[in-house]
């Protein structure tokens, strides 16, 4: 039995159907990130887990107990809000201890618990201040302290980093991850930032329009996306999506894409069984920027490298990498190359395609074309 089980949960606000049957289960100690564009229902789902929104249909189980109709304060959960929601009239110590005070914990124990959490979060020197006197990062810590002090079964985070500046956000992200590793808590975390999702999660749930698009480990969601939306949403720069056609060559399917006045032919390694049925049909192929590189940086040992010469349209150095833009299948595509690769716009260069990482999508349903999943793909998905 899983620790948190979201079983076919629906949410309706009058006529609008906000959540359309969500199924997610996670184990104790998991870090589940709900990610998706705004309006996808992720915050609503989190509020429903917290008990701040009612459940229209379906069932919510925490540690085997149905909590559909349990008051938020009795669900054994704690929540960190986007605005931090600190009580401005109380000191930091008062804020952290408020939940314990409401639960009639004696003053002395309360003080000890507050001190312990303050030490953990390194905010001991702030305990007597009011929230108004704190910086954004300090408020964030206090908000986390307020959640930690009660030692609940489940932590909920509602976009906790979105009000911080970029640098602080990265630092706090690391800290949240460290805290999770150290305390082994179970966390459900909402964000619209796919990098946050990738770095923090042990399980990612990608949502769109009130539906779960994919649930899996970060790597599975990244490498083996369920559909075009997940492929485009996760990863930055995002996955190259190229219009192509499957044709049969020497008895095996290959993908052909128009590259200027020539045709690029890419052999198919993954999902070959399923793609046999797609011969002479249009598809969209997906390749991550790092799967298209210069021949020298390509991983010839493990990858299945296919080289081709294409025109260089634009060169974007980022310091760590060099992104080279070319066009394929009528769209601009990004290739990630070694910095210092001597390329100039207008030249032709050799690009190395790691076709073992290529994924293929049905342009009509936007879903993946893939083989029946075998055991080694494993931990990939529960729903489609």
């Amino acid at each position: 039995m899983s620790f948190l089980h979201i079983n076919n949960v629906h949410k309706r606000f009058g006529e609008t159907h906000v959540l359309k049957g969500i199924d997610i289960s996670i184990e104790q100690g998991d870090f589940l990130v709900l990610v998706g564009p705004s309006g996808c229902g992720k915050s609503t789902l989190l509020n429903m887990i917290a008990g701040l929104d009612s459940i229209s249909e379906g069932e919510l189980l925490l540690d085997g107990r149905c909590i559909n109709d349990v008051h938020p304060s009795r669900r054994d959960i704690a929540m960190v809000f986007q605005s931090y929601a600190l009580y401005p009239s109380m000191t930091v110590a008062g804020n952290i201890g408020f939940g314990l005070e409401m639960r009639k914990v004696p003053r002395k124990e309360r003080r000890e618990a507050v001190d312990r959490v303050a030490k953990l979060l390194q905010i001991e020197n702030l305990l007597d201040r009011k929230p108004g006197q704190l910086s954004g990062g300090q408020r964030q810590r206090v908000a986390m302290g307020r959640a930690l002090v009660r030692d609940p079964q489940l932590f909920l985070f509602d976009e906790p980093l979105s009000n911080l500046d970029a640098k602080l956000r990265v630092d706090m992200r690391t800290e949240i991850k460290q805290l999770h590793q150290r305390l082994g808590t179970t966390i459900v975390y909402v964000t619209h930032d796919q990098i946050e999702a990738m770095t923090l999660a042990s399980r990612i749930a990608v949502m769109r329009g009130g539906e779960l698009q994919q649930l899996g480990t970060p790597q599975a969601v990244y490498d083996d996306p369920n559909n075009l939306f997940v492929a485009g949403f996760m990863g930055s720069p995002s996955m190259n999506l190229i219009e192509a056609r499957i044709v049969e060559r020497d008895g095996v399917p290959v993908a052909q894409a128009i590259a200027g006045d020539t045709t690029l032919t890419l052999p198919i390694v993954r999902d070959r069984q399923a793609l046999r049925d797609w011969c002479d049909r249009d598809v969209i192929i997906g390749l991550r920027p790092e799967a298209i590189t210069d021949p020298a940086s390509a991983n010839h040992r493990e990858g299945n490298i296919h080289e081709a010469e294409l025109p260089v349209e634009l060169v974007e150095p980022t310091g760590a990498d060099l992104y080279v833009v070319t066009s394929l299948g009528g769209a601009h595509i990004n290739a990630r190359m070694r910095p210092g690769t001597p390329l100039r716009p207008g030249e032709r260069a050799r690009f190395a395609f790691d076709v073992s990482r290529m994924v293929v999508f049905d342009p009509e349903t936007e879903g993946r074309v893939r083989d029946e999943r075998t055991a080694d793909v494993g931990d990939v998905l529960e729903t489609a």
Binding site: N47, A50, H71, F81, S83, A85, Y87, P88, S89, G99
Partner: protein, 301 residues
């Protein structure tokens, strides 16, 4: 020559633009200086003069002030303003806050109710006073209606009872200002972050504790504003009392404003009246100036 003239034109226009606001504002500045501050100074001087029915500029020092403070009627007026002011401010704030909290529960007819509660504020004090005078007049309003309906033993004669008359004024004044205070509190309540209330719910606080510990402490600025607005309305209260009780029965509902009026215009004691007026100004200034100071300074800190 030809390219010098636009320069000169531009210079003239610029100078005009610089001076125009000052030119437009200066008449009103002069008028305010003369009619407001000038007459404040004049009244202050009169309070140190031997004025009776007509202004008399003979300097008599603190004579009028000592007559004011030994006056028995002034003592009643001060006592009444304390009773009236305290009850008025406290009742308005308590009722206004309760109404605001009730209206803030996302009820359906909120817009209509808010308007209904706010309407009394649109009436002038004279209208309020007259209406309440009719309503509370034993031979005319509530008591007579009850008698007509058959409840012969019903009696509500506070308006003509010299011990109770001041409370009828409180009732009328509270009726008028509560809606306004409610609107202030409602605006304050709407400004409170909803996530904070959710956080308190998860923390396990019952509704009344959420109000007592988290929401009401955050309304402190609203309390400040409400107290200052109500306090100066209380001290200025004149028309309501004139319309409702005329300061009577006897001197039972006399307040400093009615005291000042009667000494200046019917008792021919302009000096004492001026002293009482200056005193009221000082009290209001003592309330308003620190408030304005803190309000105007806040945005910078």
């Amino acid at each position: 020559m030809s390219n010098a003239s636009p320069d000169r034109d531009g210079g003239a226009r610029e100078r005009l633009q610089r001076w125009l606001p000052k030119l437009v504002l200066s008449p009103s500045c002069v008028l305010i200086l003369f009619f407001v501050y000038g007459f404040i100074a004049w009244t202050s001087y009169i309070s140190f003069s031997d004025s009776g029915m007509m202004p008399d500029y003979t300097w008599v020092g603190l004579h009028q002030w000592s007559r004011l403070w030994t006056s028995w009627t002034w003592g009643i007026a001060l006592h009444n303003i304390w009773v009236f002011g305290l009850l008025y401010i406290v009742s308005c704030i308590v009722l206004g806050l309760v109404l605001a909290i009730l209206l803030d529960q996302r009820i359906r007819a909120e817009g209509v109710l808010r308007t209904i509660y706010l309407y009394p504020m649109a009436l002038s004090f004279i209208v309020t006073g007259t209406a309440w005078q009719w309503f509370l007049n034993p031979g005319l309003g509530l008591e007579k209606t009850m008698h007509d309906l058959g409840w012969q033993s019903f009696s509500f004669n506070w308006l003509i009872d010299s011990n109770m008359a001041i409370y009828t004024v409180v009732i009328a004044a509270v009726w008028q200002a509560t809606g306004f205070v409610m609107a202030m509190f409602l605006a304050g309540l709407r400004g409170i972050d909803g996530e904070m209330i959710k956080a308190a719910q998860i923390d396990g606080a019952p509704a009344w504790k959420i109000y007592a510990r988290i929401i009401i402490p955050q309304l402190r600025p609203v309390f400040m504003s409400a107290i200052v607005v109500l306090a100066h309305l209380a001290i200025k209260s004149f028309d309501l009392i004139v319309a409702m009780t005329g300061g009577g029965p006897g001197n039972a509902t006399a307040v400093p404003a009615t005291f000042m009026y009667s000494y200046a215009f019917s008792r021919n004691e302009m000096g004492i009246a001026a002293a009482s007026a200056v005193f009221m100004l000082a009290v209001i200034a003592a309330l308003i100036i620190p408030y304005l100071y803190s309000e105007l300074r806040e945005p910078r800190s």
